[in-house]
Symmetry: C2
Subunit: 229 residues, 2 copies
Amino acid sequence: MSKKGEEITDCNYQAPIFNALTKSEMSLLDSHRIEVRYQPGEIIFKQGSPCSHVVSFDEGQAMEYVEGANKARIILRLIKPPEFISGTGIFSDMKHQFSLKAIVPSSACFIEFGSIKELILKNQAFVQAYLKNIDNSLKYSYYKLSSLTSKYQLGRLSETLLYLANDFYETNPFELTISKPDLGGMSNMSKESVYRLLNELEKDGIIKIEGNLFTIFKPQRLAEISRNS
Amino acid sequence: MSKKGEEITDCNYQAPIFNALTKSEMSLLDSHRIEVRYQPGEIIFKQGSPCSHVVSFDEGQAMEYVEGANKARIILRLIKPPEFISGTGIFSDMKHQFSLKAIVPSSACFIEFGSIKELILKNQAFVQAYLKNIDNSLKYSYYKLSSLTSKYQLGRLSETLLYLANDFYETNPFELTISKPDLGGMSNMSKESVYRLLNELEKDGIIKIEGNLFTIFKPQRLAEISRNS
DNA sequence: TCAATATATTGATATATATCAATAAATAAA
DNA sequence: TTTATTTATTGATATATATCAATATATTGA
């Protein structure tokens, strides 16, 4: 097992849920896993396809998205390691409910669901961690549902920018690794609206954009906009 | 324990998840539960409030909804017995992620989460049923997310009408027990839009509305509209 | 280097949909 | 019954936002 921070990872079980496992349980998983590397844009799993494994996302960055009525897509959230991704549907209809796509070179470890299920049934700490994981997904999904349906686009875009700085990249000037039109996918708006509103926020001195480098000058102002519009 | 179909119910454990329990496990729950009766409009639990119990919804009808930015609310789905409602957040931040409100006189049984957790940890069939339950909620939530953000209002309202006939009331002429403006809460639109579109669907001979009695004449046409707009 | 493609920008227009407003019908209260 | 209140209806208007279009800039490939 490699430590967090090393360059090459190989199913390193760094996600918090794996803390619940003993060494021998990890070895069990080792014999039921496959590691796969992805290039930017490659789909790791696709909404609607059979779901037989969980994913330990070990390296790179990816996006979780759901497909809408037309070609529209909503980007639910971005993923960075270490992350444990349990395809929802694994206890119901065995189909993926969302798609996962690499946005930079990435590495994902597929662990057979059978062995995960075994651990869920016999390891009390593991099942609690697993339930916490789904619970958080559900919580986030409900939040997104109300936010995407009740806010104006400026509020939604501001929320996305704060999410990127605070939760995803976790730095203030941050280098955007998705495209600017993808900000529209995260905030549910057209790419033209994204460009227009970004310029507006920049003109108001709230943010600065140089290429893909985003600086948030007034995070509290952005939070206010996110709340009130 | 009363059988399904009887008038008065009292924590009857009819929801599928309870099939996983033995008689003695049910007795355990019996000593950790409280039954509460509600009048129409009364809140059973409120988004953001502490979540310490799960709910067995035994009688009546209720709505699950999330509160949006302004006073806006999205009605996630309607609930009828038997239904097991595990407040999400019970494994994460111990707060309710949505509200539940009675729409007709209803009866709900609150079961202490401690005893549910005990069963999750020791009964393998129960934990699987519990996971299936959350999984379905997540699946539904993702579906709603894409549907509410990618369809036009006519498509969303058609979807709601089909949901009511096929999944909730399960009869074709159905008596609406929520208000017509609430159809807007389910479809994310203003009440005026609801009235306009209902009249439009009626003029086109797709549905008929007499008071609160809704008849769907052309369900396949409605499904088509729901899909393509 | 030059062409070709993708990304960014901005304006004009179209359109979905909310909001406001006025009134009608239905229901409840007195 | 008469009044008051809620629910329903419909039109006019305002507005958020997408779409279309034109062009500019940057990036890539030949």
